[in-house]
């Protein structure tokens, strides 16, 4: 008999599945190849739950819950697809596009952008909302990197990776509501931020073209957000070399 402790059964889009206690809906869905769009979520970092595009329907009442932050329970009934979910995800993406200045054609992250691909997958071909067209100044004061707030969606991946993995906590959010924005140190330009170690982790996890390596041209951005999970796993498991090369 296999050990059944901590194993529970649930229904995902009508499929009966086994999951482990402590897993989130998102983890179970990904394990079973069920796609749920995410933006602020990044494996290896703490869960922030702010983008709200990973919402799924839970239970017979079809309550909406963020997949990234909802732990699975016995007999849970989860739906990842429905006309309502599609409409909601699309609207949230429209909100993000209306809020900043996202011009894909001239963006360093064109075709390598998680916001862009989420929009394409959601079938968001135009924005019905009024564009805010904010005036935001690009910060190109750092020797190696550039921050373009026009493309920032406030997912805080950079904030979290810098704080939790690099341990520098250069980035944070200032202001509230529509005035919320990313700041370096105590609101100085990035080049002046003494705590920055120039490690570039924030740049590699950015889902859009907001953070990039100086000199990058249109469509040239290459990301490696999975570096976070490799790093954090290696630290936790003390595996610093590929399997077999250690000891």
């Amino acid at each position: 008999m296999p050990d059944r402790r901590g194993v529970l059964e649930l229904s995902l889009d009508g499929r009966r599945l086994n999951a482990r206690e402590g897993q989130t809906v998102l983890q179970v869905a990904r394990e079973h190849g069920v796609p749920i769009p995410t933006l602020c979520f990044l494996e290896g970092l703490s869960t922030w739950g702010s983008c709200r595009i990973c919402m799924v329907e839970v239970g017979p009442q079809r309550v909406l819950r963020p997949a990234c932050a909802t732990p699975v329970v016995e007999d849970m009934e989860i739906r990842t697809e429905s006309p309502r979910l599609r409409a909601h995800r699309r609207m949230i993406l429209e909100m993000l596009f209306a809020e900043g200045n996202h011009v894909c054609a001239v963006c360093v992250a064109n075709e390598h952008c998680e916001l862009q691909s989420a929009a394409a997958q959601a079938g968001m071909d135009h924005v019905r909302l009024e564009y805010a067209a904010p005036q935001r100044t690009v910060d190109a004061t750092h020797d190696r990197y550039v921050f373009d707030p026009n493309r920032c969606i406030l997912c805080t991946r950079c904030v979290r990776v810098c704080d939790e993995v690099e341990g520098a906590h250069v980035w944070d959010i200032a202001g509230r509501g529509e005035s919320a924005h990313l700041i370096a140190d105590m609101n100085v330009s990035w080049g002046q931020a003494g705590s920055c170690t120039d490690c570039g982790k924030c740049v590699t996890v950015c889902p859009t073209g907001a953070l990039f390596v100086r000199g990058t041209s249109t469509g040239e951005v290459r990301r490696a957000p999975d570096v976070v999970v490799r790093l954090t796993t290696a630290r936790r498991e003390h595996q610093w070399l590929p399997a077999g090369e250690g000891q």
Binding site: S50, R52, M91, M95, L129, L154
Partner: protein, 543 residues
């Protein structure tokens, strides 16, 4: 060190001191009356007494809110013998006249007298506000003389923590902050949490526009809040308490600070409370001006000194809250109910209100009414009685249009639903909420799209900016409403308005975002014609 205070003896001493005076003149020194000039009134009364050499024989008592705030400054004269008399709109000049009427047998100041047999007073039932307007909030002796701290003494010496929780459960008391979660169940969750350190927090971060229930409770009867908090701590095993007050309430902070100092001096807070093996220190934490900090996870972040962002639940505060420890947050009005629940018992508490919503609720009654102010009514009373009897109805020549409850998270209730009983479920079924107790009445000159725009502007400004639907959705909703109100809206805008409301409600992270569309959806539901007229005729905004 002195032994624990004998409450009976302290109360006796205070009552004795009172009976040696021939007259007590109470002057409302709550915020509304102070802003109407009651500070000068109080001084004028004191001067009038001094001029007669009666200042030792007659005491002037600065009290909290007496209720009909729109009629302030309010003064109540309580002679040792004979009936007391309440006066309204007492200016500096009137003080002398009132003192003369009572002390020199001068002509009665009948023109200023306010009849306490009016429905404004008789339709109310004061539990939470029992002492407001009757005691000097800065004197702990006054509170003790009214039976204060007896409930705490009772639970510490005669009840086990689980018995206290059973009583609170049996009373059916529900959270007065708005959501109406059963208080006893919340306490049981914290009591069940296994941790050496637990916290209880009083939520005094009231922020709805026009609402001042919690402020009044904290300013006018701070010891009642402290007593309720100490009872909560004893029942749940918490050993440290915080009171979170918004910075815009400096007088509440000042009075709470004074109350905490006095309670410590009498060993009613701190170590070895009332001779029992119970230690409970309380500290005040002051907000920095964010509405969202009334949301419990944001409040916890703010108490910790972090940015007031709400966070994901689970984990709930009773599992992992303040400083990572199990914590519980109760609204100050909820806590202020507890001494009564304990002393009078759950049956007595349940005898007021409805089956599912027992007890009373404090409302800040405002808007187009003859009399506005702070009221406390039994749950289940109809909106009509509040509006027509207590508020005296809409002034001559105008008619009632809608009542807005629950502030920016609530909705507008039209005239045809005036007979709805005021309880958690009924208000929710009408698309509004009980909320913390804001109640704004509007006459037929109010235009509902503008009302919705006002509240959406509030939510847009108070959004913390963490989650997308609230941060962007409130901006978009405000923009749409503004366009519609200015007569530049298109018919298809109404469809987009509804869809945005649904998405913001369904997907926002915390209660602020989730409830922010309520003013829009409820006005769309009950007053669709006003929106249609605006987008069809493109009427110019006259507001």
């Amino acid at each position: 060190m002195a032994g624990p205070i004998d409450l009976n003896e302290a109360a006796e001493r205070e009552l004795q001191a009172r009976s040696s005076r021939s007259c007590r003149i109470k002057v409302c020194c709550s915020t509304a009356c102070l802003s109407a000039g009651s500070g000068a009134t109080r001084k004028a009364v004191e001067d009038a007494l001094r001029a007669r050499g009666r200042d030792r024989d007659c005491t002037v008592v600065p009290t909290g809110c007496m209720g009909p705030c729109s009629l302030g400054p309010l003064v109540r004269v309580e002679p040792r013998e004979g009936p007391s008399e309440l006066y309204r709109s007492v200016g500096e000049a009137d003080a002398e006249r009132i003192v003369a009427a009572h002390l020199d047998d001068g002509p009665a100041a009948g023109d200023l007298a306010l009849d306490e047999r009016l429905p404004f007073f008789t339709s109310q039932r004061r539990v939470v506000l029992a002492n407001a307007g009757r005691i000097d909030p800065d004197r702990i002796e006054d509170y003790i003389a009214e039976g204060g701290y007896r409930a705490l003494e009772h639970v510490l010496h005669r009840m086990s923590p689980s018995e206290v929780i059973d009583v609170v459960k049996a009373s059916g008391l529900r959270g007065r902050g708005g959501a109406g979660f059963p208080t006893g169940s919340k306490w049981a969750l914290l009591a069940a949490a296994d941790s050496p350190q637990k916290f209880v927090i009083a939520n005094g971060d009231e922020g709805d526009p026009g609402a001042y229930m919690d402020r009044t409770v904290m300013e006018d009867d701070p010891h009642r809040v402290l007593e309720g908090l100490a009872i909560a701590a004893y029942a749940t095993g918490a050993r440290q308490g915080y009171i979170y007050v918004r910075a815009e309430y400096p007088r509440a902070v000042e009075r709470l600070e004074r109350a905490i100092r006095a309670a410590r001096r009498y060993r009613l807070l701190g170590r070895g409370i009332l001779g029992a093996d119970f230690t409970f220190p309380v500290e005040i934490r002051i907000g920095a001006g964010a509405f969202v900090c009334g949301e419990e996870t944001a409040l916890i972040a703010s108490v910790e000194g972090r940015r007031g962002n709400p966070s994901l639940r689970p984990p709930y505060p009773t599992e992992r809250g303040l400083f990572g420890q199990p914590s519980m947050i109760n609204n100050v009005e909820t806590l202020a109910n507890l001494p009564t629940v304990i002393l009078e018992g759950p049956e007595s508490f349940r005898s007021v209100g409805t089956q599912t919503s027992p007890g009373t609720k404090v409302f800040a009654l405002a808007g187009d009414l003859r009399t506005t102010g702070l009221i406390e009514v039994p749950m289940g009373i109809t909106l009509r009685r509040i509006v027509e009897e207590i508020g005296g109805g809409v002034p001559e020549g105008r008619s009632f249009k809608a009542a807005q409850t629950g502030g920016p998270s609530g909705g507008c209730i039209p005239a045809r639903h005036l007979d709805t009983p005021v309880d958690y479920e009924s208000l929710r079924s009408l698309g509004s909420i009980m909320g913390s107790g804001g109640l704004i009445v509007m006459d037929d000159t109010a235009r509902m799209p503008q009302v919705a725009r006002f509240f959406m502007e509030f939510c847009r400004e108070e959004s913390c900016g963490k989650c997308v639907p609230c941060r962007v959705g409130t901006v978009q909703l405000y923009g749409l409403l503004d366009r519609i109100c200015q007569g530049r809206g298109r018919p298809e805008d109404l469809e987009l308005l509804s869809e945005l409301c649904t998405v913001v409600r369904d997907t926002s992270l915390c209660g602020l975002g989730q409830s922010s569309p309520n003013p829009v959806t409820s006005t769309l539901r009950y007053f669709p014609q006003e929106y249609l007229d605006l987008v069809r005729t493109r009427e110019v905004d006259r507001a």
